[in-house]
């Protein structure tokens, strides 16, 4: 088979897993199988851009932050890498309910990259190489390896593609366009062709970034400072974050800014037709915002430091592909940025990606056995979404090699599960970003309980060390012990207790109640309970929070749990992979074709395909039962 491919040398070592790309998806996809004991090769276009953040220097927020916590519980590297290198961290949404709290951290781009690169370099089972993968070697619909631009054939049993925005990347700045990857790196121009040859239909997506400006040219006194919070970390296992934090700054656009944009509308690639890729709605360029929401008097801008050893500032909210001279003009209208020196101009980038409908829930392609893909190539956007997929793809490549069942997280277990389910089942028409409103069991998928949801899985995979696992078990025990105490301990309406409740602005106590009932009151905190119950267990802040959430919102949580039970019934109902939908003559044609295309794993997944009705599911159930009985008869 190798004779069908042009190469100069066959590399002597044969790998278990080859990962194409070393961005956020690629790093996780490489580390997971290596840590699971397999031989991994990671190829990157540029070694100086491992785990690079080409867009904003931050991680997290609601939904995205949840994913980072899940990555931690499953033994991924992103959260710890961030904790070690970040400049600032805050918790967002604290007033909107525990399920939507979201950690947001400011990254030091350089340090983030350096540490992650070092982790990869030091991983014994992992080889990191600067190579441009150009051709996928496929034999009988099975992946065999990769041929590079410089003519080396690397043989691998599984391949994970994590090319981000590199595939036929095209950068657009006003009237200027050129072929390039993110941050004007060398694009991967050939791999797209190889994918198309195999039979993938590629699509064009678009994303963009704002200009970066020099710190010395910014007048921070005209802006609002935003500081970090002490003690928070992304990883459940990192020590509390106590380093000095770097601030971000807020400023706003105004009528003058909008005028400049309107005046130069015709020079905007977005409106003049130069850009034909589909961009994300949640990450609109400033020109898009001004044109679509003309009534909005101002748009918020957020100045984020790119790192400690650089003066570059990222102007979040000012993503643009307008000509560079217009970018200068725009900046000159904004308070504090009047004299801003652009160091890198904002740009839009178009790139090839696949249709995630072509993937299975384990992130393996349906067309080629052993070929996985993760990250932006699957139509998502965001470092966190990429890393989450990379981790799952890497884990599943490893599990397949070990002959084990794939790891498929469902929608009730993790945001990562929601993410992959939606990509594979529904596809996406724009770069997909995670939002908490996409999760129907949001209250259960909290960022505070990601470890309780997933750490067991991470441990069983071998991605969580014994030491970390033991810490987790201790925490779990503390939670259970404390909950039990709250359930059993009785508080009586003594004058002192009444007085205390009164001082907490809490309602009177008429008869003896369990301590849990007191904690249920919105105005009562865990620490207040000490007064009523001196023997109250002394536990960590995390345990207190966990216990409080589980007690205060029990009614709501229980309701969602019973919904999940219902959901699981359909999810656990697997559809045989070899099912022949075209033989289901009694099913509506539209439903049959959709099912044939998506190949759902379970009845639950089937029911989420648009165009498949409950009646179609009923028909499918009967058909499956028929098959089962026939098979039984044959035995």
């Amino acid at each position: 088979m190798e004779n069908n491919y042009n190469y100069n040398k066959k590399f002597e070592k044969e790998y278990d897993v080859i990962v194409i790309g070393a961005g956020h998806a690629g790093c996780e996809a490489s580390l997971a199988p290596a840590r699971m004991g397999l031989d991994v090769l990671t190829l990157t276009v540029n070694l100086d851009h491992v785990a690079f953040m080409p867009c904003n220097p931050s991680l997290g927020g609601p939904g995205k932050g949840h994913i980072v916590r899940e990555i931690d519980a499953l033994g991924g590297e992103m959260p710890r890498n961030m904790d070690e290198t970040m400049l600032q961290i805050r918790m967002l949404n604290t007033a909107k309910g525990p399920a939507v709290h979201g950690l947001r951290g400011q990254a030091d781009k350089k340090k983030y990259h350096q540490r992650m690169k070092q982790i990869l370099e030091e991983e014994p089972n992992l080889d990191l190489k600067q190579e441009i993968a150009e051709t996928l070697v496929v034999e009988d619909d099975e992946i065999k390896g990769v041929v590079t631009k410089t003519g080396i054939l690397f043989k691998g049993k599984k391949v994970v593609i994590t090319t981000g925005t590199f595939l036929k990347g095209k950068v657009i700045i006003g009237e200027a366009t050129f072929n390039a990857g993110p941050n004007q790196q060398y694009p991967a121009n050939k791999l797209s062709g190889s994918l198309e040859e195999i039979g993938f239909n590629l699509r064009r997506f678009k994303t963009g970034t704002p200009p970066r400006i020099n710190k010395r040219s910014i007048d921070f006194s005209k802006m609002h400072e935003q500081e970090g919070e002490k003690g928070l970390t992304f990883s459940f296992d990192s020590p509390p974050f106590e380093r000095n934090q770097v601030s971000c700054y807020l400023t706003y656009t105004n009528d003058k800014t909008h005028e400049v944009i309107q005046d130069n509308k015709m020079r905007t690639p977005l409106f003049s037709g130069v850009i034909d890729g589909v961009g994300p709605r949640y990450c609109p360029s400033i020109e898009d915002k001004v044109v679509r929401f003309p009534d909005k008097g101002r748009h918020q801008l957020f100045l984020e430091p790119e790192g400690e050893l650089t003066g570059e500032y990222y102007i979040s909210g000012l993503s643009t592909s307008m000509p560079e001279d217009v970018q200068y003009e725009i900046l000159s209208t904004i308070p504090g940025l009047e004299n801003a020196e652009i160091m890198r101009a904002g740009y839009a980038i178009e790139y090839d990606c696949i249709n995630p409908n072509d993937l299975k829930l384990n992130l393996e392609t349906k067309k080629v056995d052993g070929l996985f893909s993760a990250g932006q190539i699957n139509g998502t956007s965001g470092y966190e979404e990429a890393a989450g997929q990379g981790l799952i793809a890497g884990i599943n490549a490893a599990l397949a090699l070990k002959g084990k069942e794939p790891l498929i997280l469902d929608r009730s277990e993790a945001y990562i599960g929601v993410l992959i389910d939606e990509l594979v089942t529904k596809g996406t028409e724009e770069p997909y970003r995670m939002m908490t409103s996409r999760a129907e069991y949001r209250l259960l998928l909290r960022q505070d309980n990601a470890d309780l949801r997933l750490k067991e899985i991470g441990y069983e995979l071998g991605l969580i060390s014994e030491e970390r696992y033991q810490m987790f078990l201790d925490k779990k025990k503390d939670i259970e012990r404390t909950l039990e105490f709250l359930r059993d301990y009785q508080v009586t309406p003594t004058p002192e207790n009444r007085e205390k409740l009164k001082s907490l602005d809490s309602g009177a106590l008429k008869k003896p109640v369990k301590l849990a009932k007191i904690l249920k009151r919105p105005e009562v905190d865990y620490d207040d309970l000490k007064f009523f119950a001196p023997e109250l267990p002394e536990v960590s802040r995390e345990v207190k929070d966990q216990v409080s959430i589980q007690t205060k919102y029990k009614g709501y949580i229980d309701r969602q749990m019973s919904q999940v039970e219902q959901f699981k019934k359909m999810e656990d109902n697997l559809i045989p992979e070899d099912i022949d939908y075209s033989s289901l003559e009694n099913m509506r044609l539209e439903a049959r074709e959709k099912l044939k295309k998506i190949k759902p794993r379970s009845l639950g997944q089937a029911s989420r395909i648009s165009g498949v009705s409950p009646a179609d599911i009923s028909v499918l159930m009967i058909y499956l039962e028929q098959e089962e009985r026939e098979n039984k008869d044959e035995e």
Partner: protein
């Protein structure tokens, strides 16, 4: 597959007619439990304790109001010895369509879900109760019934309902998108609500749902009964007619929720069709009837009548008073009843025919019970001529809509409760999403992606 545990479903399992009997079937793990909440056996036993394959006489009673819905025979079948292979409870009702529907609604209120088309058969098949040869037949049933119920649902929605539901749905969606946007984009400038504003917004959602429930209940034929007014000058036999109809056909169901009984209203179950008879015989005989009817209030109630029975007396002839009464009601659906044929005629047959040519004219003697069958048939004809055909699927669709509206209402009340308890946004969205889900189930749409679309169309978000 066969061991898949399912929820409990309920439906009317017999075709309807005006014959007035039918079966409500509940199937699933909670079937007997749900039944026991709404059934009172004459023997006093709790049906939950009953042996399999036993029948129990008793009453379906609404536990909230304590009112009897129908006299029924409850048949208990414990799994796997039932049609579906699950626990099954069947109520054989005999009060006609209204009680059937009311019993079904009670089961839905107490934890059952309305069965999908062909779902009983599907479950029976899955549980090995039907053989392979029947599989195709079940699929056909599912497909044809789904198609039919879809077309009926569409038909029903053509009226004002879908517009009204969509209006409320839009309001819910807008509020939800606002809350979700502020949750998912905390760093964007999205104005929040204070609790008064939220309260106001919730009220704006709740009130129209409440109204819709009321309207849905006015599926007149089945719920409120046909408002029937008996008019005529004094002493033409109005009370006798009412008494006759009452003793023959006293309705079992009178506790239709949301309606109150007052002294001049009586419910009559005419071959399964409920008539709410408004008895102007309550007016004192000595007073001038026309004058009495002339009172605005009475005039109003006449105007609202679905059916008027205008009574004449053969022996008194056609008087000026009769004509005056007639002029008030001639625009209505009216049946002219010429009573007291047992007495000497003092009336010009041709004159009558001419005078009342636009309405059916019947000759009766209530006293001798003559012409009464004909009268009943004419009443039914009048009703059916005007009303939609009595089609089981239409009725089922209506129950489905009402069920969805009731659940939407319950959910919006939960949102209000959460707000009152000072819960943060996230908790409001939980039940608000349910409101949206139930409203959407009426119009047959899915919503998840819509919310996200709405977020981006309403707000300028992201960086």
């Amino acid at each position: 597959m066969t061991n898949m545990k399912e929820d409990t479903i309920s439906a009317i399992a017999t075709p309807f007619g005006t014959s007035g009997t039918g079966k409500v079937r509940i199937s699933g793990p909670d079937a007997i439990n749900i039944g026991s909440k709404i059934f009172e056996a004459s023997s006093g036993i709790d049906i939950y304790e009953a042996d399999s394959h036993t029948a129990h006489h008793g009453y379906v009673v609404n536990p909230k109001t304590g009112k009897t819905v129908d006299e029924v025979l409850a048949i208990v079948m414990i799994k796997p010895r039932s049609f579906t292979g699950e626990n099954v409870l069947e109520f054989d009702c005999h009060g006609g369509m209204v009680p059937l529907e009311a019993v079904l609604e009670l089961t839905l209120e107490h934890g059952a879900r309305m069965a999908e088309p062909g779902e009983f058969s599907r479950r029976a098949f899955m549980n090995g109760k039907l053989d392979m040869a029947q599989a195709e037949a079940i699929i056909d049933v599912i497909n044809s019934k789904t198609e039919k119920s879809l077309s009926i649902a569409m038909e029903q929605l053509k009226g004002g309902l879908s517009e009204k539901v969509n209006k409320v749905k839009d309001d819910v969606m807008e509020l939800l998108a606002h809350l979700e946007a502020s949750i998912d984009f905390p760093e964007d400038e999205i104005e929040g609500f204070d609790s008064n504003q939220l309260e106001e917004r919730l009220k704006e959602i709740k009130e129209p749902i409440q109204k819709l429930i009321k309207t849905a209940k006015q599926g007149k034929l089945y719920q409120e009964g046909i408002k029937t007014v008996i008019v005529g000058k004094p002493n033409v036999g109005k009370s006798s007619l009412l008494n006759y109809l009452l003793q023959e056909n006293r309705a079992i169901v009178t506790d239709v929720p949301g309606t109150t009984r007052d002294v001049i209203e009586e419910y009559i179950n005419l071959d399964g069709i409920p008539l709410k008879v408004i008895d102007t015989a309550g007016v004192r005989e000595s007073e001038d009837v026309v004058e009495k009817i002339g009172v605005e209030k009475t005039r109003e109630s006449l105007k609202k009548a679905d059916l008027v029975l205008m009574m004449l007396d053969v022996s008194q002839g056609l008087t000026e008073e009769d004509i005056k009464v007639y002029n008030l009601i001639k625009e209505q659906h009216t049946i002219v009843v010429v009573n007291k044929t047992d007495l000497d005629e003092n009336i010009d047959f041709d004159e009558l025919e001419e005078q009342f040519k636009e309405h059916p004219l019947l000759w009766t003697s209530v006293k001798e019970e003559k012409g009464m069958e004909e009268l009943k048939n004419t009443i039914l004809e009048e009703i059916f001529q005007e009303q939609i055909n009595v089609d089981s699927d239409v009725m089922v669709t209506k129950v489905r809509h009402r069920d969805a509206l009731n659940k939407a209402f319950e959910s919006i009340e939960k949102v209000e409760q959460s707000l009152e308890n000072g819960m943060p946004y996230d908790f409001l969205t939980i039940d608000l999403k349910d409101v949206l889900f139930y409203l959407s189930s009426i119009t047959g749409e899915t919503v998840t992606d819509d919310i996200i679309d709405q977020i981006f169309s309403d707000f300028c978000l992201g960086k």
